[in-house]
Subunit: 199 residues, 2 copies
């Protein structure tokens, strides 16, 4: 029951952040949406809204890392794996009427200058995605430094892509990302050393 | 005097948005920072905070488009022009202690789902940047469709790069963007038709 209430509070907060951002969300809105009393929110999150934001960022980081892992597991071709990720992200945007798919980027921009705990949680989230994508590319034979740059570009284009898609209410910007960045992965694969090849 | 007051209000609002986002900024903060009375703010911006946000987005859109035009005018090589832009954006981040260089992305994410006037102003801003970068690439011989995709990627990586840089308090993510995307411009230039060549 305690876990249910905690999870209900987290889910409601996540939804509110995705619609209204961090500063646009109040604890009384969370209380109403969960539903849970303000006392119950402080029981699970003694640090209040800032602690809630850190918890939402941590859980979103895990969900997206798992989503990435599951998508890349579907294909043997890293170049199409990233395109597949952008396709699925675009579908999600359309299905949710373009609400923010990722509260982390919004919260990070709102409070990176004013809340260090939230800034550090967002940093850990982005780092874990860059790490996951780097590991995946290295497993496919791309050398570490190049893999890390491409993985960083992947996370940056996901975050920047969400900004343009939401603003334009169109998923065309994510398609442009897929079209332009696929050749980068293909070319990195083509120039890899022959060591991990199956041929 | 009227223009001075209006400009003071706009400048103060821009600064506050860059530190605290849209929802984290109140008209009384604007009034104090400008300084200007609340009555004076409503005199110049009858639509209140929403109208102020639209005006800040419009003026930021112009400033950044001019910045882009002035940077690309400094070099004859489009591949290095974009790297130069990312370098200068990184320098600005460091000089301002990583406050948000672009209030548009933050505001857009906060209120894309709740304020259509602000969403449309942000859309026009991004469109004007994509347009400026597309025109520049087309002038350099890259065909329209490819130029537009690369220009879209450029705006997306600028916005996404700001998110990661602010979160990490490091400009390394923008360097990764420059390293990975420069070859795309070079390769588009290499495969252009010979028509606009000076040779």
């Amino acid at each position: 029951m305690g876990i249910d209430t905690r999870q209900r509070i987290l889910t409601a907060t996540n939804e509110l952040f995705r619609h209204h951002g961090y500063n646009g969300t109040s604890l009384s809105q969370v209380s109403k949406a969960a539903p849970a009393t303000i006392g119950s929110i402080y029981h699970f999150f003694p640090g209040g809204k800032e602690a809630l934001a850190v918890a939402v960022i941590d859980s979103t980081a895990t969900v997206y890392r798992q989503l990435f892992e599951s998508i890349v597991a579907e294909t043997n071709d890293p170049a199409s794996a990233f395109s597949l990720f952008f396709d699925q992200a675009g579908q999600m945007l359309v299905e949710t009427d373009f609400i923010d798919p990722c509260p982390i980027g919004t919260i990070a921009r709102e409070v990176a200058s004013t809340s260090d705990p939230i800034r550090r949680a967002a940093e850990a989230a982005f780092d874990s995605w860059v790490e996951a994508a780097t590991d995946y590319l290295v497993r496919n034979g791309i050398r570490q430094g190049e893999a890390r740059d491409l993985a960083t570009l992947f996370v940056i284009t996901t975050e920047g892509g969400f900004v343009l898609c939401r603003t334009k209410r169109s998923i065309e910007p994510l398609h442009a990302v897929a079209r332009t960045t696929s050749p980068l992965i293909s070319s990195a694969l083509a120039s890899r050393s022959p060591t991990p090849s199956k041929a």
